[in-house]
């Protein structure tokens, strides 16, 4: 599995307010495509979640097995006569839930570790950096598999497993900029003035690491979707009957020639989700790049 954690080097800068950020992403072609695709996926997931779609994702209709795409079944139906569109929408919801929870956990733990290591230095930095190094020694999918085998399957455990995999990346991304801020004149001045450490961390260090962390979050979300679908494909992630894109592909592997739609739609959805978040990440990176800002 080529779920390579990408540690991006983004110039350190405070993130602009959300409104301005959106405008800047919109100006970037990649960012615009990413934003639109992500919005469509989130909308589809929400429609499924609140029951706006015509069919139920779990209800089985033996009379309607393997229906090709039609006006009634836009994406066709599967081996139990379940509507694939409804299942894809619910699958996006499952994927997003796992990836958002896992990346949130990884960001929280990883960035805290990275900031502590970078800001306080000394033995704490040594210990944290060593720990991060050790976690990096495991190929991503392998570490996720080991954690899932220990915790058991289910969506939350999958999220925890993926979080363990991505924590070291966030620690590394947060540590670098923290190191450079720590030695900056204005931080030294604050220390001399007796400003408490937690205030310095919250008011000055956090804004300075937010840009690279935010970019990393979008990229990690896309890799988390891939990892979640891979674990579910292996039967170790989301458990049936709960719809999951990876599980749908696994179920469809024997019917691919006789009923192509059972595999095509869930597989394409995974691809679109990963591409969308990657492009959004690209757009965010250029939107947050201070060098670009200066040249404008």
């Amino acid at each position: 599995m080529s779920v390579t954690p990408v540690v991006t080097e983004t110039a350190t800068a405070a993130a602009p307010p959300a409104g301005r950020l959106l405008t800047r992403i919109w100006r970037d072609t990649n960012g615009r495509i990413g934003l639109v695709l992500t919005a469509i996926l989130v909308l589809a997931a929400l429609c499924g979640a609140v029951g706006l779609l015509p069919h139920d994702p779990i209800a089985q209709f033996p009379d309607a097995r393997y229906r090709p795409p039609s006006a009634d079944y836009w994406f066709g139906s599967d081996q139990f006569g379940r509507d694939i569109l409804a299942r894809v929408a619910a699958g996006i919801w499952t994927s997003l839930r796992v990836s958002v929870v896992s990346v949130a956990l990884a960001t929280l733990v990883g960035a805290t570790l990275g900031v502590c290591a970078g800001f306080f230095g000394g033995w704490l930095d040594q210990v944290i950096s060593r720990f991060v190094e050790v976690l990096f020694a495991f190929p991503a999918i392998l570490l996720a598999l080991a954690v899932v085998s220990a915790l058991g399957s289910g969506w939350f455990n999958t999220a925890v497993a993926i979080a363990v995999v991505y924590t070291p990346i966030f620690a590394r991304v947060a540590r670098g900029p923290t190191l450079s801020v720590r030695n900056a004149e204005f931080v030294n001045a604050q220390r001399v003035l007796g400003i408490p450490t937690h205030r310095i961390l919250l008011r000055h260090v956090l804004p300075n690491i937010s840009a690279p962390v935010v970019v990393q979050v979008t990229l990690a979300l896309s890799w988390a979707i891939l990892t979640e679908s891979a674990l579910s494909f292996l039967g170790l992630g989301t458990q049936p009957p709960e719809p999951s894109l990876g599980l749908m592909v696994a179920d469809a592997q024997n019917t691919i020639t006789s009923a192509w739609w059972t595999m095509a739609f869930p597989a394409a959805t995974i691809v679109v989700a990963v591409v969308a978040l990657n492009l959004l990440g690209d757009g965010l990176r250029s939107a947050l790049d201070p060098r670009r800002e200066q040249s404008r």
Partner: protein, 319 residues
């Protein structure tokens, strides 16, 4: 290469490996139940207190965790990886049989992926902003976004339709028995694995190529009237080589642990399949040791890449 640096790097790797054993030990201890319940299953409920106590002593479960940890590490260092709970074979022999399959798969995928990745990366990087750059980058992103299980299933469906070939573990031919028969089984899964590999190598090659191509020495080479092909390969690619080597090494390391899905789809008796079967059967001695073996291999590959590029590039030595 300075020996002092190599020594420090080696020391760091040993320390990391020690950390790896701790993580593996802790993760596997997080599993509910202990060696007795996992080896006997529900039958462990029928044990008399005396039998339970005897087994507790046998597995050393009465000792503190650190004694258990060092006892385990000591056994591992002596080459004793334990015994499989389901088959009764030694874990060492099972891993010994499975590892060559995975290594072969990873090597094949790495060779194919590196060649394709460097060629496409050069193609894209030599004309940044042009149509071929956009197309290649789009293909690269797609290569990263399409899950390998999807590609694997498509490949198996294609093989079944075209060659009437259906993957089956019982018909696996090792490379030592027949090279051509082995290749006919290994080449297609390797091709699937090569897609993601190539996409990563392509991205790195492209960005390095674009950067190096702006350097003064490249302009000088052009000014001297050197042939574009010579500038491309002897000057630009050679200088972009280190990051490409690094990404190839890291990707190769990931492949050693990332063949689980492909081995499952293509029914190859490699380490990934061994690990996956062990996870589903709750055969923890195998899970523990195969995770450890892959992590050790990963650390060693990274160490070798580090040593290799210090040997190749004089700039890194001076830095």
């Amino acid at each position: 290469m300075t020996w002092r640096w190599a020594g420090a790097r080696l020391g760091g790797a040993v320390l990391t490996l020690f950390g790896v054993t701790i993580v593996v030990f802790v993760v596997l201890r997080a599993i509910p139940g202990d060696a007795i319940t996992s080896s006997l299953g529900i039958e462990s409920g029928t044990l008399t207190p005396a039998q339970t106590q005897a087994l507790t002593l046998y597995y050393g479960l009465d000792k503190p965790w650190y004694v258990q940890f060092f006892a385990w590490v000591g056994q591992v260092l002596r080459g004793n990886l334990g015994v499989s709970l389901t088959s009764g074979n030694t874990v060492g022999s099972l891993i010994g049989a499975a590892l060559p399959v995975t290594v072969e798969l990873a090597v094949l995928a790495a060779i194919i992926g590196t060649v394709i990745g460097v060629l496409l990366g050069t193609l894209a990087g030599s004309g940044p902003g042009r149509a071929r750059d956009g197309v290649t980058q789009g293909v690269g992103l797609l290569g990263l976004a399409v899950p390998e299980f999807v590609l694997g299933i498509l490949m198996v469906a294609f093989l079944a339709a075209r060659f009437d070939y259906f993957p089956d573990t019982s018909t696996f031919v090792p490379i030592t028995t027949s090279f051509s028969a082995n290749m006919s089984q290994m080449l297609y899964p390797a091709l699937v694995l090569a897609v993601g590999f190539a996409a990563n190598v392509m991205r790195t090659t492209r960005s390095e190529y674009v950067e190096v191509a702006q350097a003064d020495f490249v302009r000088t080479a052009r000014g001297k009237g050197l042939a574009p092909g010579r500038i491309r390969f002897a000057h630009i690619l050679r200088n972009a080589g280190i990051p490409i080597l690094t990404v190839t090494g890291i990707q190769f390391g990931y492949l050693l642990g990332g063949t689980v899905i492909i081995e499952q789809i293509f029914a190859l008796p490699g380490l990934g399949r061994l690990l996956f079967t062990a996870i589903t059967n709750h055969d923890y001695p195998i899970v523990q040791s195969s995770v450890l073996v892959v992590a050790v291999a990963f650390v060693l590959v990274n160490l070798l890449v580090d040593l290799a590029y210090r040997a190749v590039d004089p700039r890194v030595r001076q830095a």
